[in-house]
């Protein structure tokens, strides 16, 4: 029996449309993704990771090709329905406000609440579940401006979790965090995938952590996009191409990147 694809891209070109011709960042991206996977998107700065994630989450249109969520073309999914299928954690800081942690996570329930945004018992359950999964129940009445970067990132993950979507897309969720919080974020996401069968896609620069934790890797290089499990990509020697080899090398024995002395 064939597994249903939760996310699929075919011959996707990403970039920015201009009147004087398109500025394309990456071309010919194709992949298929099934439920319950943790995917790490790797690539050097400026290679187009954020652009790819923005295209997958319908924040910007593809230049060419199509994205399918739950086997439906992204273009024909309404915003409201998409909000029940896909949640995001972005790199941008949220504007200053008086929102408490609870209220912020509760906003994740908006795709399900009535026109006034009133929470019902089911919503409260989902919010509590999200707070517990991410381990922030104890700070739920704090104001968002009182939080550290690490706490805030966990709150944003809880908000995405409360949105109860089968797909969660995170753009560099471990940036600005210390090594302890980086590992904690990875652990939280890994546990989410295991406990809830959600599919989590995150872009990250923590290549070694990603190699240890991810079920699948997406590699973006200048002219190529490759997806596969760690073993597949090692066999194809794809990981060697991820960075220029003068400073850092992939060691297939330890399955980690190492500094090139």
């Amino acid at each position: 029996m064939e597994m249903k694809n939760i996310l699929k891209a075919s011959k996707l070109s990403i970039g920015y449309a201009h009147k004087k011709g398109n500025y394309s960042i990456a071309n010919d991206i194709s992949f298929e993704l099934t439920k319950g996977k943790m995917v790490c998107l790797l690539g050097k700065n400026g290679i187009g990771k954020s652009t790819l994630l923005r295209t997958l989450s319908k924040m910007q249109p593809p230049l060419n090709g199509s994205v399918f969520v739950d086997e439906t073309n992204l273009n024909s999914i309404s915003e409201t329905l998409l909000a029940q299928k896909m949640s995001v954690v972005l790199t941008e800081r949220i504007p200053e406000s008086q929102l408490t942690v609870f209220e912020l996570v509760a906003l994740g329930r908006q795709p399900y609440t009535n026109w006034l945004g009133k929470l019902n018992d089911q919503d409260y359950k989902k919010i509590q579940y999200a707070l517990e999964q991410v381990g922030i129940s104890d700070i739920q009445s704090k104001k968002n401006y009182e939080l550290s970067d690490g706490q805030l990132q966990k709150v944003m993950i809880a908000r995405a979790l409360a949105q109860d979507t089968s797909l969660i897309i995170l753009d560099e969720p471990t940036a600005h965090l210390d090594i302890h919080h980086k590992i904690e974020v990875f652990n939280i996401l890994k546990a989410l995938v295991k406990n809830t069968k959600k599919t989590v896609i995150l872009s990250t620069h923590e290549v070694n952590l990603a190699l240890k934790m991810a079920d699948e890797l997406w590699l973006m290089t200048e002219n190529d996009f490759k997806s596969g499990t760690q073993e597949e990509l090692i066999a194809l020697k794809e990981l060697d191409k991820l960075f220029p080899q003068d400073l850092i090398l992939f060691n297939p024995k330890s399955k980690q990147f190492e500094i090139n002395n």
Binding site: L90, I94, S97, Q98, Q110, T113, L116, G117
Partner: protein, 344 residues
């Protein structure tokens, strides 16, 4: 959560009681002293010593107090809308250039006679013609802003475009003023002082119904406004129709500020300050609580400012526009310094 909710209810009830008290005080105070017993008798429709007192209360003070309530709540709400939409604590109801547009309309009517001549000199200046000129002016600026909005995606650019339209209107007013007579200028300046007391019951009826209809539309955007607290990208990812929200907010704000300026002149400060005061008192960003709270607090503040402007028992009346800033600004500064950690 239950606990927090009940404290909001308590504060709201407290503010409503305060509103009634301030309203009562506002009607009681004025240039002519009316003994308290007689005042109560007028309100209860019982016989009074001096029938002119009844006239003053029913045809002057009560309409004035109602227009203060309408102006205060309307400006407070549109200030809050602008601050959330632009995610900028400095935004107020007039950032879209709407009051400048209204001023331009009125300036054209009052000053245009000598500067342009022709048709303008034949239009009789009355409450209604000023209201219509002011509405036309704000509608013109609103349309210009909306046309511009259609072509741009960035919300911050709308803010700048609004400011630019404001500058253009101000410049045209300067040119008009330069060519006008002293008498016309005086008339225009008096309009720009703002005034709550000129409205008849019929005018109040029109005023109140337009505001009420605008408020009804706001119920539709409470939820999108809350999601906008996370920024536009997150709001969109929550399934919010950003374009529609933006249009509703812009049109409602323009309607509210346009109609207020038309009937009461350009009243400064309240729209900027009341949302901040409300957030300081209620320490929440939830628009379901903030919108009614802002309306009540705006009305309270406007009534207090109007009472001060009357300089009770004296024959002087200060320009309301000066009073709102003179007495309001220090309060906001004091609150901010005292609660310096609070985020607006």
């Amino acid at each position: 959560m239950k606990k927090i909710k009940s404290s909001y209810t308590k504060s709201t009830v407290g503010m409503l009681i305060l509103l009634v008290l301030v309203w009562f005080l506002n009607i009681n105070l004025g240039s002519i002293h009316i003994p308290f017993k007689q005042f109560v008798a007028i309100l209860l429709n019982s016989p009074v010593e001096n029938e002119s007192w009844r006239y003053i209360v029913l045809h002057f003070r009560i309409p004035k107090s109602i227009s203060a309530i309408l102006v205060g709540s309307g400006l407070g709400i549109s200030g809050l809308l602008m601050q959330t939409l632009f995610r900028n604590p400095l935004a107020g109801p007039f950032v879209l250039g709407i009051s400048s547009g209204a001023s331009l309309g009125v300036a054209t009517l009052l000053l245009g006679a000598s500067a342009i001549g022709g048709v303008f000199s034949s239009i009789a200046v009355s409450n209604w013609s000023i209201s219509i000129a002011s509405s036309l002016g704000s509608f013109m600026v609103l349309s210009a802003v909306l046309i511009a909005v259609k072509r741009i995606r960035n919300t911050m650019s709308i803010l700048i475009i609004g400011l630019m339209f404001g500058s253009i209107s101000a410049a045209i007013i300067n040119v008009l003023s330069y060519f006008s007579s002293a008498e016309e200028l005086q008339q225009f300046i008096f309009w720009s002082f703002g005034s709550l007391g000129n409205l008849s019951w019929e005018e109040l009826g029109v005023f109140a119904s337009i505001l009420f209809i605008s408020f009804l539309f706001l119920i539709l955007v409470i939820k999108p406004l809350n999601s906008l607290l996370l920024g536009e990208n997150y709001a969109r990812s929550l399934g919010i129709n950003l374009k529609q929200t933006r249009y509703i907010v812009l049109i409602v704000t323009s309607l509210i500020t346009g109609v207020i300026t038309a009937f009461s002149g350009p009243i400064a400060f309240i729209g900027l300050a009341v949302p901040h005061l409300t957030k300081l008192i209620f320490t929440t960003s939830n628009h379901r609580i903030l919108l009614p709270a802002v309306a009540i607090l705006g009305a309270i503040l406007m009534l207090i400012c109007d009472s001060i402007a009357q300089v009770p028992t004296s024959e002087y009346t200060l320009p309301i526009n000066a009073v709102t800033s003179l007495f309001g600004a220090p309060i906001v500064i004091w609150l901010l310094v005292r609660k310096h950690k609070t985020v607006l």
